[in-house]
């Protein structure tokens, strides 16, 4: 038996509230506001209070999908990643690196954003990278 709370940062708006995820035996069972976080000082909005709901939603994607005969079907990671890399390489060779464009994510971490812009610029060779800052 294990129960713990894990302090993390809310994934909704730009306030950056500290919240505690309640974990019982490896399962996410609830959310509490962090009393000791500088931004929210023990408070949350209605969205922050409910973050555990979407994380544990049965609608989550749980494996890669690949389009076959006009339908997205489940695949292995190797198949999906190999296909993606092959297609991107083909398009880059045929049309040049600027024929590829990347949208990175204001929902992902700094580290992930850094890596994706590095991939875009160093691996693909284009500066065609942006995200939803304007939206």
């Amino acid at each position: 038996m294990e129960f713990k709370t894990v302090l993390t940062t809310c994934p909704y708006c730009g306030c950056g509230c500290g919240l505690l995820l309640e974990i019982l035996d490896g399962r996410l069972i609830g959310t509490l506001p962090s009393k000791t976080s500088p931004v929210n000082q023990g408070r949350l909005c209605v969205k922050g209070w409910s973050v555990h709901e979407f994380v544990t939603s049965p609608n989550r994607l749980i494996r890669p999908l690949v389009r076959k005969a006009d339908r997205l079907v489940e695949s292995s990671w190797d198949e999906a990643l190999d296909l993606s890399a092959r297609r991107l390489k083909e398009i880059k060779e045929r049309h040049g690196p600027d024929s590829i464009a990347v949208l990175t994510s204001a929902k992902c971490t700094n580290e992930e954003n850094y890596l994706l812009q590095k991939l875009t610029r160093a691996a693909i060779g284009t500066n065609n990278i942006d995200h939803c800052a304007r939206l």
Binding site: M1, P33, T36, S37, W49
Partner: protein, 264 residues
């Protein structure tokens, strides 16, 4: 940090009397709820004081309900202050927790905290450590009582106007254990409105605090709009005490006039 509490919990854990101790841990400069299963972890035990006394308290009894639903046959110890002990008593009466499976680890509150809370009994009867503080005479309810009825309504409506319907008052409440919540009843409260129906929303919740609210103050601390919810529920408690002679959480056997569940 309380040696007495640490030693008592360590002994309970080592002797196998409890499956775990539900308390607070200090980690990465923050205080958070934690189930201590390993005596070694007690090194990081916190009593919920971060910047000020008692400013990092959490609804441990609410978590305890979840633990005991998952592990009904296990015994747990839990950190309780005076308010939490009142909460345990009501939760036993409402059959949300089983008394024989809970070992309270009692902590008395310092005067600073008791004053901030205007607490009527800032220590648990099961006092293991901390002071056995004096009752603090409340000013906040008195100030509202001093207003005439129209001014009172204006005061509360102005406070409720800030409500953003986060539902934090309900969500953090260790005494809100209902499976269905009246605040989500569309016939009473229109959904999608900010502020929610004023004053209906807050009065509906206040009425449901009758015989439930143990005056822990977590609701007010969780309110992003700084609505003085504790004053509202203290007033509710005052009415219940005057009209029905019932004081929530002060007795072990006597049930609130609104608790009609029969123990079999």
């Amino acid at each position: 940090m309380s040696k007495k509490i640490k030693e008592t919990v360590r002994t309970l854990l080592v002797e196998g009397k409890i499956r775990g101790f539900l308390g607070l841990i200090e980690r990465d400069g923050h205080v958070m709820p934690h189930l201590f299963g390993d005596p070694q972890e007690l090194e990081h035990l916190s009593l919920g004081d971060h910047g000020r006394a008692g400013d990092a308290r959490y609804p441990l009894n609410q978590i305890l309900i979840q633990l005991m639903r998952a592990y009904p046959e296990e015994t747990f110890a839990v950190l309780v202050r005076g308010c939490d002990e009142r909460g345990l008593r009501e939760l036993f009466k409402w059959q949300q927790l089983r008394e024989e499976k809970v070992i309270p680890i009692g902590l008395g509150c310092p005067e600073e905290l008791a004053r901030a809370c205007e607490c009527e009994k800032p220590f648990p009867d099961n006092l293991l450590d901390g002071p056995k503080g004096e009752k603090v005479e409340g000013q906040k309810v008195a100030r509202v009582n001093a207003m005439d009825i129209d001014a009172r309504l204006r005061f509360w409506k102005a406070e409720f106007d800030r409500c953003i319907k986060c539902l934090g008052c309900r969500n953090i409440c260790p005494m809100c254990f209902c499976k269905e919540c009246t605040l989500e009843e569309a016939n009473l409260i229109d959904s999608g409105e900010i502020p929610p129906a004023n004053p209906t929303f807050h009065l509906v919740r206040a009425i449901h605090m009758v015989g439930r609210c143990i005056d822990c103050g977590l609701c007010e601390e969780a309110c992003p709009a700084d609505i003085p919810l504790r004053t509202l529920y203290k007033k509710v408690a005052e009415i219940v005490s005057e009209e029905f002679g019932y004081k929530t959480g002060y007795t072990v056997d006597e049930k609130s006039p609104f608790n009609i569940i029969e123990v079999k």
